[in-house]
């Protein structure tokens, strides 16, 4: 089910601007890896190279290797659309499809890919909503518009939508930064459950959140604005927060930064 990610020597560009440089790391299956670092250091950019969403941006270009188990996502003949079915994504701002009901939002991945049996759909929707801890709140309003839910519910709807297509890896880009503390807790709990089934990578600006939910933490930094972002270190979360091996990490975590 869940797959290992192995990145080596990865550069990502916007046009001629090198946004992240020479990143190598391994993400274990069935674990939560948190990305932390100051704004603009390329966390989102790096995350989007992991499911080939980076090239959707005009001028977006990637060099290097991203191995998903034993396949290079940037190898020849790899279909980015197929990659995105294996590696799902949850965005910073909840973005349910406004024309669709709650049910249709969750079913969207399967329906739009055209690869489903009608009889399965109900089950998949129920299972995904339960998986996203949203079922009890929406089971009576499955046919209401998805955009009518609260922000936290919308974000969990987006998570349900992402897991409905059974990806191997789930990428989350600051999934709680637009949410209140209660909804944030709900999503953190959910991440703890989801890691049984998926490999999870989460970008967060919230140190406590990284400490609470992740097994491993990667710290990114950039020398100056306009310089490429770099991976400073990646280690067990406990070590990063108690005894990091690089001074810059400690400075950032303890708030002695910039």
């Amino acid at each position: 089910m869940a797959k290992r990610i192995d990145v080596s020597g990865l550069n990502a560009y916007y046009g001629s601007f090198l946004a992240i440089e020479d990143i190598s790391m391994t993400v274990e299956p069935r674990s939560v890896t948190a990305f932390i670092g100051p704004s603009g250091c390329g966390k989102s950019t790096f995350l989007r190279t992991l499911n080939r969403m980076h090239e959707v941006t005009p001028g977006g270009r990637v060099e290097g290797k991203v191995m998903l188990d034993d396949e290079n996502l940037y190898g020849t003949g790899i279909d980015p659309v197929a990659v995105r079915r294996e590696v799902g994504m949850v965005f910073q701002r909840p973005n349910p499809f406004p024309t669709m009901s709650v049910y249709d939002n969750v079913a969207a991945g399967l329906r739009l890919n055209g690869s489903y049996k009608k009889s399965q759909l109900d089950d998949v929707v129920e299972k995904s909503l339960k998986g996203a801890n949203l079922w009890n709140e929406v089971k009576d309003r499955l046919n209401k518009p998805g955009s009518g839910l609260s922000g936290g519910q919308q974000q969990r709807l987006c998570i349900a939508r992402a897991i409905a297509v059974e990806p191997k890896v789930l990428l989350m880009d600051e999934p709680c930064s637009a949410l209140d503390p209660i909804s944030t807790l709900a999503i953190e709990d959910l991440i703890g459950e989801l890691k049984e089934r998926f490999t999870i990578v989460i970008v967060t600006h919230n140190m406590q959140q990284a400490a609470r939910v992740s097994d491993r933490t990667a710290f990114f930094n950039l020398a100056a604005v306009g310089q490429p972002g770099k991976l400073i270190e990646i280690d067990d979360t406990e070590r990063i927060f108690s005894n990091p091996s690089v001074q810059a990490t400690e400075d950032y975590i303890s708030g002695r930064f910039g």
Binding site: V56, V81, R93, L112, N113, S147
Partner: protein
């Protein structure tokens, strides 16, 4: 006028200030209207535009003076700008209202079931009777065919420009769309006419449709482009990240989200070309008879009918021209209303 704190009079609070009563603007309006009429009468000015202008100026001045006295300078300016906006609004609405009013007044004289269901077949311009069935039919067919051509091409062009267009081809297409937007309708007509003359063809309805399509296409492209740009990029990314191919994302996420706006744009561009006379005059020629075949023989159309009836100078023909105008305005109004209804019905629901 600063109030010292020790001076504990009525105005002890610095947050309170004089306020004009709610009815004050109406009172000032009524006063300046009466004064305006009075002045005009005294000066012997007969034109209603003159006394209305005098009243408007008096109203703005009066508002400023009264508000500055009772309230303060800032409130006075606020009220003056508000009144300017109202005056501008009235200036825009008065001609429209009077146009609708006179069209309804003169148009209803001969507008009835008979008028809508008969042609001018055996009726001379000077006689009463006759109708616009042939013209309605012609307009519907010509505009319908033009829409069938222009709407798909326009929407697809807009999709190309917004979703795929990069580099010089997209810039060239944008440039030509801009140029086409500015083509006078008579030139579009002449363009088709020159082709028709090359093949020695007689006027027919579809030739008019082609010219109308040329006029309609850039409008559809522009409005559709705007609507597609309004679709948040996040929705496209959400769909792509689910492993949905780009073309399906456009078809199933982008288009449904903007469908209301796109339909409204198409409806409005139909309304725009339904009143075109020049290309129809050149290419379809006009006819007194019912011709339901747009691919052969001259046809009538509503704007052309109005033009020809009015041009004939007969009293009975005037009545018919006004009635046809009323029909055309009603047709366009209905299109607009349908467009609005569709936009509201199809707009993404928040349902909160």
């Amino acid at each position: 006028m600063s109030t010292a704190p020790s001076h504990a009079g009525k105005r002890s609070s610095t947050l309170q200030g004089g306020r004009l009563p709610k009815w004050a603007p109406y009172a000032i309006a009524a006063g300046s209207l009466a004064l305006g009429i009075g002045i005009s009468a005294a000066a012997g000015l007969s034109s209603s535009i003159q006394w209305a202008l005098i009243a408007a100026i008096l109203y703005i001045l009066g508002t400023y003076v009264v508000a500055a006295k009772v309230e303060n300078r800032r409130q006075a300016k606020d009220r003056v700008v508000t009144s300017l906006v109202w005056v501008a609004f009235l200036l825009a609405v008065v001609p429209l209202a009077s146009l609708v009013w006179s069209t309804v007044q003169r148009g209803t004289k001969v507008l009835d079931g008979y008028f809508l269901s008969h042609s001018m077949g055996v009726v001379a311009d000077s006689e009463t009777g006759g109708g616009i069935y042939h013209a309605i039919l012609g307009t519907l067919e010509q505009v319908g065919l033009a829409t069938l051509i222009a709407a798909p091409i326009g929407v697809l062009t807009a999709i190309y420009l917004v979703e795929y267009g990069r580099g010089s081809l997209a810039r060239a297409v944008t440039f030509f769309v801009d140029v086409m937007t500015g083509i006078p309708s008579i030139v579009a007509g002449l363009f088709i006419l020159s082709i028709m003359l090359m093949f020695e063809m007689e006027p027919f309805g579809f030739a008019g449709s082609l010219a109308l399509a040329i006029l309609m296409m850039p409008v559809v492209v522009r409005s559709t482009e705007e609507m597609l740009k309004l679709v948040p990029n996040e929705l496209r990314e959400a769909s792509l990240a689910l492993g949905v191919p780009k073309w399906r994302t456009i078809l199933k996420v982008v288009l449904p989200t903007s469908l209301g706006g796109i339909t409204t744009g198409i409806m409005l561009s139909i309304a725009r070309i339904a009143g075109e006379t020049a290309p129809v005059l050149l290419l379809v020629f006009g006819s007194k008879f019912i011709n339901s075949n747009p691919f052969e023989g001259a046809q009538a159309s509503l704007p052309l009918y109005i033009y020809q009836q009015y041009g004939s100078g007969e009293a009975a023909a005037y009545d018919r021209a006004w009635a046809a105008s009323l029909t055309l305005i009603a047709f366009i109004m209905i299109l607009n209303l349908v467009a609005r209804g569709l936009a509201r019905w199809k707009a993404p629901k928040t349902g909160r």
